[in-house]
Every structure is written in structure tokens, then in C-alpha cells.
Symmetry: C2
Subunit: 344 residues, 2 copies
DNA sequence: ATAGATTACGCAACCGTTTGCGCAAACTCA
DNA sequence: TGAGTTTGCGCAAACGGTTGCGTAATCTAT
């Protein structure tokens, strides 16, 4: 029973003693096929439950109507939200989405790219691994006319299509707020030096201090490897200073979760003895008792769906009868602080 | 520049004045091709950077080496973990994964199935919509020889392949623990009646009471539509009883989050004045101050990767030279309670 | 020297559909 | 009635690769 082939156009042709081309045209209401023949073809097609094999068509079109998405880790709400945004955009364009999680591993990222290339996806959306610092594996895709659009974690290069998020905007809002609340000694818990995000946060930190005319003090800048024990060490170092900061900018919400635990253990009150600002805006805060004053929202969904829009633009241009040389598609959206201070 | 076609086997053939079949065989080290010819072919292939077009091969094989995954919502950690399990299994078998989020909407689920069928995936893994109660859209896949394996949210039918989780196991552990701690008045906050999960929890509840020889009291069984306001109403109803339950089994962790907030608002202490047990085992508890005594872990990753294993078994059998009539692949794994009571 | 085996390759079909071109039959008009 | 147009359909190639079968040329053995 499972042996029976699906009805094809040839099968219909055979039954009606016409050619396959006639059947194909009849099914597309081609004017050069007579009404009678068209009707007979449609009838048989109906009876057989014929459906065109899209794979054959796609193969002929040299398209797959599939895009690939490479992201570090789906368990991060940011990326699952991003994927959802992409899926929505893809659905609207009748595209499928195949995913690959790099797990922040460069070799995996390369392998996924290779695999997606083999499967001839029509385009790829990427948010880079933390480890990624060379991009040859993406350059290779040009040969296959597979466009790439990066989002959020984008290469440090100019000649790419991307959508990224400007973290400065949200952080400036947040620090201004801290200052307005009377804070003047604001610390920083940064990430490991090898990450681009770490340098970025350092710059943002300096810039925020400067714009608010705050003094700079190396003592209240610490860093963590992002391991839990190290997160605790970092925050403890700050709160045990003779003159601890009254507010701290934290690398991200995950680090902050550990910091909050440490602060409580030390008998201090969050948002009273010490306030926090962080990056990511995890949905988790909604349910927590102790929350940062604000977390910087980076709009996963917005970034990814815009990146998807860029990608479809590139794909459609390449597929159009006369493709033009598209300018680089680049966009930076502003982050925003999301306030959580419930005492207000 | 983007016009240049990729090198094909025909291109190589033309350059060497041999036939395409010779090239194909040479590239596969077929013994009937002479060493000299083989070398020459390989050399040119190398020079041109030839790579076989997998899509052409897949088309001929009538396979796509792609499986579809239909899940309700990626933002739920359960499903993103499930997807990760599937992706790992797929990668090991050199398969790709295309995803579709049904968003718990039956019509979307149908549409996604249709779409995956069009794309001729080699198989589909499904966790059903809350709304899904008919399954014709899956039956239709038989015609296309697309096997389906359900996981976690499975159809209420016998003739299917599935992996599910037995919630009773974990809940019995949890209730036994409650009883051991001295609780004898255990309430239930259930979900909306139309959900299968609601009936299921009611049965589990009764069974747990019975096995522990606890009295049954309709007053401490309430339900919620799962909306936040309704969650609050439900828990408030319980804590405002003349004789409130000392412990409550809650529909799931999301409902419980609201319950905990309400309990605190009422000035009660979680795990002291009232204890909770819930379903889902969200990773969030790790970071919370107020936690349930235990949450029932349903092993998303384990379920989904086992389901993926089933699926590949079905796919490979169908693709084998002599497919056999496989028995239904069914497995139920036991849930386990995960304790969170940190006071211990 | 000749039958038989071996070596090395090409032809053509196949997967399912689309489409440019050609052509015969029917029709139109002068 | 004959030239020109329209109608309706088939042939064959194309997408890129694989494979069963046929066959010419060379080699082996008697």
C-alpha cells in the first residue's frame, strides 16, 4: 500500500492519451489548450487527487523556498523570540525556515553553514557565535548566490547586510535615570575580555559616565567569566569596597541574577542599598521580587524580522528577471530601557 | 558575476570530451572507469571547484533529508528544549530541521502540515495544539509516505507513533512528600475544562489523594482559564476559605507564578503557610525566592529526541530495499518531581 | 588464430515539471 | 480555391545527477 506512487502529470497524460505538456498547460489554464481537453484533464487530476510535486518545480527553478537561520542558542529567550519573528516573516513570503544552533561554537557554525549550503537554502540569517571572528565561511556563500543577512551579533565589517541594535541608546536613558535618582557612583560588572560585547559595554559605560559628568573610578569596574562563581565574586568585590557603588551596570541579566542573589545573601536590599541596570530584558523579571531598575531591551523580534525582510529583498532581487546591484542593506535600531522599579 | 553558473558534471564532461556518466562514475571511484580518466576528471573537478548539487540527488532519490517539527510555542522553555533535542538527533543523522509554530492554533497547525507536505519533508514530529482534537490533517500524510511521530502532546488515539510523559509518576512522588511533611488538605487549581490536560490533572489529583488515603473535598478544587486575573481569583478563593488547604497542586508553573504573587500579597509565606506543587519545571525557579516544593519535570529533551529516533527508524525502514511493516512505535517516560524546597 | 573474458566507456532513461518551437488541422477572408 | 490566420496539441530539451545495459577495443587462453 505504501508502494503506490503519487499521481504525476505523466500518469494523467497516459490515461488521456495526451502529452505531459498538454496536461501541464491544462492545469495552468494555458490559452492554447482547448476547453474540452482542459476540462478532461482537470477531471482526471481531481479523481487521482493529483498535486504538483513542488520539489520538482523547485529543482527546476533552482530554488528551495527555504531560508536558514543560524543562532547560538534557542534556550535564550532572545533567540527564540528572534526565530519567531523570522518564522512569521517567512510564512508571509511562503518560505520555510530551517534552523541550526551554533551553541556559541565556531566549528559548529561553520558546519551549519556548510550544511545549509548543501541544502541550497535561498538565503541565510545569522546571529554570530561569541567565538566568531573570521567570516570566510560566509564569504563562500557568494559563489552559490546565497545571500546572508546578519542580526544582533554581527561581524565587525562594513561590507555586509545586517540589522543590529544600538545598546548605547537604552543605556543612556537608564544612566540618566540613575543620575536623576541621585546616584553618582556607578559600577560596572563586565564580561570576559575576549568578547566583543565586553569592549562594547566598556565603551558604553565610559560614554554614559562622561555624558553625565560622573567621575571615573577603576575600583568599581570588575569583570567576570560569566561563570556563576565568578559572577558572585565580582559583585561581592564591589559591595565589600570601603565605598561601594550605589548602582551597578551589569553585563547581562543572567549575570545579574547571580548578583541579586549575592546581594541578598549579604543582607542588602536591591533597589535600596544598591541598584542595578542590565542588558537583555529577560521576561523573567516580570515574575521576580528583586529586579533591576531597568534592563535594556534589544528587540529580538524586531531585529530578526527586519533582517528577514532584508533577506527576502535580496532573494527576490536575485530571482527577478533583471537583478540590480543592491546597495548594502543595513539598519541599526535603538535599544530602550525597560523599567522594572515597582516601588514607583 | 552572480550570473556564473556553478560547475556541473556536464561541464566537466564537456571539457574532457567524455560523457557525463563517466564523470559521475569517476567521481565515485567506480571500478569500470580507468585510472587515467578518473584522475583527469578529479583534476578538472578540483580546478572548477565542483560540488555535487545535492538537491538534484535528493530529487532523484525522492527524499529531502529534512524533517518537520510542529510545536506550539518556542518561547516556552519546554518546547525550545524539545527542539534542541530534535536538532541534535537530526544532525547525527545528517538531517535538516524545519520548524513551524502552531501557536496553539488549530488552523495554523493544519496549514503547517500542508506546507511541510508540499515541501516533501521525510517525516514530521508533532506536539499538538491545545485545540487539536481531530487528526485528519495528519492522516493525509500517509498518502505521501510521510511518517509522523507525536511527542508530549499526543492524540488521544491508539494507532499512532508517539512518545509521551506519564505525569502521574512525578506527582505521586510529590504528593507523598507532602503527606510525609504532614499535609493532609491538598487543593487543586486546574485549567479550563476543554483542555485534555485538565481532565488529566483531575485524574492524577484523585489518584494521588486515594493512594495516600486523603479525604476529598470539592471546596478546594478550583479552576482557572489560565488568564492572569483568573489565576489570581482561583488562588484567592482557596486562601480565603475558612479552612484553606495547606498545599495546592497547580495546573502549571505559569499559573503558579501568579499564585505565588497573590499569596505574598495576602501576607502569607510560601512553603510555610502554604505549599505548592506544579507541572513543567520551568528553569525560572532556579532564580526565584519563592518556589514550589516541587515541580514535575517532563523531560522535553528526552521525549523529543526519542521521538526523533522513532521517526528516523520509520524513515529508514521506508527507504530500505525491503521495508517491513513496523509495529507502532510508542513509549511513555515517567515524569519526576524536582524539589525546590531550599529550606531543607 | 580465434573464442571468450575483461576493460573502459557511452547511450539513454529516469526523477516531475515547464516551456519554446513546430506543425497539422480547421477556420477566415478575398 | 488558395493564401493566411487561428486553434490545439506534441516533441524535446532543460534542471543535475545516477545507473542499467550495450558495445568496441584490448587482453587472455587455448
Amino acid at each position: 500500500m505504501s508502494k503506490n506512487k503519487l499521481p504525476t502529470i505523466k500518469e494523467i497524460a497516459k490515461r488521456l492519451n495526451v502529452s505531459a505538456s498538454t496536461v501541464s498547460r491544462a492545469l495552468h489554464d494555458h490559452p492554447s489548450i482547448g476547453l474540452v481537453t482542459t476540462m478532461r484533464v482537470r477531471k482526471v487530476a481531481q479523481e487521482l487527487g493529483y498535486e504538483a510535486n513542488k520539489m520538482a518545480i523547485y529543482f527546476k527553478e533552482r530554488k528551495t523556498y527555504t531560508i536558514g537561520v543560524i543562532i547560538p542558542d534557542l534556550s535564550e529567550p532572545f533567540f527564540s523570540a528572534a526565530l519567531t519573528g523570522i518564522e512569521d516573516a517567512a510564512e508571509a513570503s511562503n518560505y520555510n525556515v530551517i534552523i541550526g544552533q551554533s551553541l556559541d561554537n565556531f566549528e559548529r557554525e561553520k558546519k551549519i553553514v556548510e550544511n545549509m549550503k548543501d541544502h541550497r537554502v535561498d538565503g541565510i540569517l545569522v546571529s554570530l557565535t561569541k567565538e566568531t571572528s573570521t567570516y570566510e565561511h560566509f564569504d563562500g556563500l557568494k559563489k552559490y548566490n546565497i545571500p546572508v543577512v546578519f542580526f544582533d551579533r554581527v561581524p565587525n565589517r562594513k561590507d555586509i547586510n545586517y540589522v543590529a541594535c544600538n545598546l548605547v541608546a537604552g543605556m543612556l536613558q537608564a544612566v540618566s535615570k540613575l543620575v536623576a535618582m541621585g546616584h553618582s557612583r556607578i559600577g560596572l560588572i563586565n564580561g570576559p575580555a575576549k568578547l566583543a560585547a565586553t569592549l562594547q559595554r566598556l565603551e558604553i559605560y565610559f560614554r554614559c559616565l562622561k555624558e553625565n559628568n560622573l567621575p571615573m573610578d577603576q575600583d568599581i569596574i570588575v569583570s567576570t567569566t560569566l561563570a556563576k562563581s565568578d559572577n558572585l565574586k565580582a559583585i561581592n568585590k564591589l559591595i565589600n569596597l570601603e565605598e561601594p557603588p550605589t548602582a551597578v551596570i551589569v553585563f547581562n541579566d543572567y549575570v545579574l541574577l547571580d548578583c541579586i542573589a549575592a546581594v541578598k545573601t549579604a543582607g542588602l536590599k536591591v533597589n535600596k542599598d544598591i541598584s542595578f541596570i542590565s542588558f537583555a530584558n529577560l521576561p523573567i523579571w516580570e515574575y521576580m521580587d528583586s529586579v533591576p531598575l531597568a534592563s535594556i531591551e534589544q528587540f529580538a523580534n524586531k531585529q530578526s524580522s527586519m533582517a528577514a525582510g532584508f533577506l527576502f529583498k535580496l532573494i527576490n532581487n536575485a530571482a527577478s528577471p533583471n537583478p540590480v546591484e543592491l546597495p548594502l542593506l543595513q539598519h541599526i535600531i535603538d535599544s530602550e530601557m525597560v523599567e522594572y522599579n515597582r516601588s514607583k
